[in-house]
Amino acid sequence: MPPMDKAQAIEELTEIFRAVFDQPNLVLRDAMTAADVENWDSLNHIDLIVAVERKFKIKFTTREIMGLDTVGDLAELTAKKVSAAP
């Protein structure tokens, strides 16, 4: 995959968020947390992570996942992993 920056990652992640949380009009912002997105809770958080992993063919570790606080953090980590992928 070609290198990706954070802004691109947020754009791509928007589609995934909309599908996983069943929010067709959701607009992601950098500072958003689980509290700002309806239906986003610990029960389906890993569904989101799995969807991101499948879409970009990357793998996250538990330590990486637990370090995420905002949508921006997830976008940054995704962009970093996609850019580093062979």
Binding site: D22, D41, S42, I46, I49, F60, T62, R63, M66, G67
Partner: protein, 473 residues
Amino acid sequence: MSFTSFKFLLILPLIAALYQLLPVRCRVWFLLIASYIFVGMANWKAALMMAAATAFTFFVAKIVGNPDSANRSRATFLTAISGLTLLLVFFKAIAALHLGQFGKLAAPLGLSYYTFKLMSYLIDVHWGKIEPARNWPEFAAAIAFFPHIAAGPIQRPANFLQQLPPAKTAVWMGLSRLVWGLAKKVLVADNLAPTVNYVFAHVHALHGASLLAGFYLFPLQMYADFSALTDMALGMGLLFGILGPENFNRPFTATSISDFWRRWHMSLTNWLADYVFTPLRMATRSAGTAGLALSITINMLAVGLWHGFARGYLVFGALNATYLVGDVLTLRSRNAFLKSRPSWNGLASWAGWLLTLHLFFFAMVFFRARGVSDAFWLLSHAWCGLGTHHAELAALSAAAGSRTLILGLTGCAVLELAERVRPDIWWHRTEAAAPAWVRWPVRFGVAVCVVSALFFLTVRPGGQESEFLYQVF
């Protein structure tokens, strides 16, 4: 010493007043010493054990958080986490097996709470979320903080440490919260307790309406009691400048079981979600639905067994696991169904609310009953002969006192209405907005009324103290 004992309520204002007079740099030491005296007064061995576990974790975290020794730190982390888990499991097992020779060791005050604080701290350091603490008195105060040690809430040490030094106290907001909790405890929970205690002590002798009273009243008593304890703990925390995490968010308004578990005992469920459910879910994510069901089941069994190693708690956890798995797995199809029939939404909310309430109340019978056979008896005989067995009802009424029950039930209704407006917050805002010449005389008058009311409400015949249900965990 219970939070509602007159002795405690007499000492607390003196400690809080002294704290106000102390220079900010001395306050952490004061909290640390006061906390250890509080635990030590219950059992000095428990205080020593807490000190040892705290010191052990403080030093181990320095090795775990050292990036230069990744291999050594991983082994140290796993050993330390296993050690803390074993400590908790050991004492829970002693209590469950009634081992006489260890009788004096059983259930040290606050063990379930401080081991969880220590474990979360160590895991956060291992995950690189936080740096190891540098200041040991601050760390020890975060673990032992006396308003939260007896029954939570479970405040992560990092959250506590962020608020140090505790320069800004919120005395009047803390007092409002404290009084709100105390009112819930003595006016609602304690008035429901006699009926609940009678029913669960005589399950096999009762039928129909008497058993139904136990079925419906115990969860209400538990909520009033435990949320009161949380209100008092958070209120006391504010007196010392520490804002703690909330434990409840009007759980009996939940319209699904997953909604319910986002509102009930939140500091425990959030802890388990972060340190048990999410790692398990990550490990089982390739297994799809089976992985999700397994992670939920282990997590909910942990919720049950955290209260103690008894079959009732295990069944409580297993039932809630079953409910949650069912809820999560049917969520998409239910949403799709309701999307195509928007007029059904209102009905679905009401049905969801009613079902959630009854599913949770059903599980709570196993939580409270003296044994699983008592729980089965209650559940199988509660719906038989509802209009008969007048003699049993009369005996229940005579033993528990119908006046206390009416007072408790009225209190429940008032409580539900009041939690929408939160009178403690309303009061705090209103009086804070008043000019000083009105505010201070009103505060003085309220303080005199509250102290008098507390005296009459908490001093009981025979000098008995009212214990909280959650202090036994």
